[in-house]
Amino acid sequence: MNARAAALIAALAAAVAFPLAMQAADQLFFVGFASRVLIWAIAASSLNLVLGYGGMISFGHAAFVGTGAYVSGILIAGGVTSAWIGWPAAILASAVLALAIGAASLRTRGAYFIMITLAFAQMMYYLMNSMKAYGGDEGLSLTSRAALGFGLDLGNEVTFYYVVLAALCALLYATHRLAHARFGRVIAAIRENETRAEAIGFPVYRYKLICFVIAGAAGGLAGALLASHGKYVSPSLLHWTQSGTLMIMVILGGVGRLWGGALGAVLLLALEHLIAEHPIPWLLAIAPNYPQHANLGVGIVMLVIVLYAPQGLAGLVSRKRHA
């Protein structure tokens, strides 16, 4: 067994043991918190698929997460609680939306592509805001989480955690397979040299669109899980700053690296929590309100990373390893 596999197994074991430990310590809050982190890890990993693997700077990923959340939420609110219906429906809806947005925006390039994905996502935000039937700007409160059957109660924080963990592992494994399969090679080739990929006979637009749709669908899954997790869906999930936060996660963790999205989500959310909940005494003495300005720290860290470590933290680590 090599070091890589050992580390992987250790990480997985820690992830599996975590909720049991927290349960024993009567700290179920952290199980719920960890589930939220893992769901964002799924969302960030799905963005990484299009941003990192596909090289498309999509700035509207929140639209797919939000759409998945809404579809799943609307179904639960309407009495269709089965996850076996709700989650595939969410994935499908996000995929269809990604197909529409992708088909329009992939016709453009560079700055235009960024702005247009951004604008279409914001359009979804306003659309959900004005949908009175689904709560409008008030959002949609759900009475229960989705139901999975098989005697698994998703209302139980620990069960829910394991389902989310399984979903994340499945997504990462699928991404790993995809990256090394024919499709992944084509996507990597397009990212590296789009002109040449077209010139050796790949229908570039079509492949990019497929990649965009897969990422959107995976984002929809994250959304469906979020809806169940918080039992609440609101348009703020679709706001463009949410897309920006997802991007921050991906960059923080490492663009185009398998673990990048997940790592970034864990780091960002853990950092936010630690800053807000566990103030450093000496810093508190200088700046009493600093925990309320956690975003200042996030912003500065981001700026420094972008300016000095564009490969993200994963890049920093692996660069050291190579050295």
Partner: protein, 305 residues
């Protein structure tokens, strides 16, 4: 639906469009010359409003406060450009997006630390009432002022860009940066200047809208996306495109919100009309963008041939 109502809503749309133009004009030049995406443009709008609110209070004069806020914001914008943005020109769009997104977070928190999360800004008492535009049609004097200021700034900008040497150099830089360099144009300095002007325009918009809306942290974030829509419609790098796009977006948005639900009510069952009307109205500008994009992928007035 009376003509007066339509006229009044059109004025409202014009007023909104002109303010959008002020934001989009600076943004589109930054795009055009440096091929740089600057998300932090909305933060300058916010900063302009906070400066204006503070200075109006400090000086006790609305006009003086606003006039002082403009150079202050311009200076802040130029400082930002020299300190951070300059290093981003040569970087890819992803870096620019992330770095300027980080700047939004930083700007929000800095403003929160310095001023708190919001400030009150009152319009001058003399303008807080209506003006009789037509018989039976009073219109808020302050909104007329906004329209006036918007038109005046647009005209000033037109003169600056179309008639002055600086404007010619800016246009030259926007269409062919390398050739402008080879002709001896100091693009770096020119760009700092353009950035300052863009920030000043932000300040005008922020200061004028401050009393009408609210001077608060995050105020630039939603309007920034609309400014992007304006640029996509107008064409990157084109001031004329920004003006046409902004007025178009302002009109379509306001008119759509005002009349679309009623229009739907004419030929749709009421319960459906009341649900679909506002929903469609709220995304009308984005649909407009999609249509323009489909017909003219480079926008209405692309700056590059």
């Amino acid at each position: 639906m009376s003509w007066i109502l339509i006229l009044e809503q059109s004025l409202n749309g014009l007023q909104f469009g002109l303010m959008l133009f002020l934001l989009a004009a600076g943004l589109t030049l930054v795009f055009g010359i440096m091929d740089m995406i600057n998300l932090a443009h909305g933060s300058l709008y916010m900063l302009g409003a906070f400066f204006a609110a503070t200075l109006v209070q400090a000086t006790g004069s609305f006009a003086l406060g606003v006039l002082l806020a403009i150079p202050a914001t311009a200076l802040a914008g130029m400082l930002l450009e020299v300190a951070v943005l300059r290093t981003l020109y040569a970087r890819d769009h992803l870096s620019q997006v992330l770095a300027t997104f980080a700047l939004i977070l930083i700007a929000n928190e800095v403003v929160r630390i310095v001023w708190g999360s919001d400030l009150q800004m009152t319009m001058p008492a003399a303008l807080s009432g209506p003006v009789q535009l037509l018989p039976g049609m009073p219109y808020p004097a302050y909104r007329l002022l906004i329209i006036g200021v918007g038109l005046a700034v647009a005209a000033l900008l037109y003169v600056l860009v179309a008639k002055t040497r600086i404007g010619m150099l800016v246009r030259a830089g926007a269409s062919n940066r390398e050739m402008a360099l080879a002709m001896g144009v100091n693009i770096q300095r020119l760009f700092t200047l353009v950035f300052g002007v863009g920030a000043a325009l932000c300040a005008v918009a922020g200061a004028m809208l401050g009393p009408l809306f609210a001077v608060q942290v995050g105020m630039g974030e939603s309007i920034l996306i609309l400014a992007f829509v304006v640029i996509v419609i107008g064409g990157i790098g084109s001031i004329r495109g920004a003006l046409v796009g902004a007025v178009l977006v302002g009109m379509v948005d306001t008119i759509g919100r005002a009349f679309l639900p009623h229009l739907f009510g004419l030929f749709l069952p009421p319960q459906f009309a009341s649900a679909a009307g506002p929903a469609i109205a709220s995304v009308l500008v984005y649909l407009l963008m999609a249509v323009v994009l489909f017909v003219r992928p480079q926008g209405l007035f692309p700056a590059r041939g």
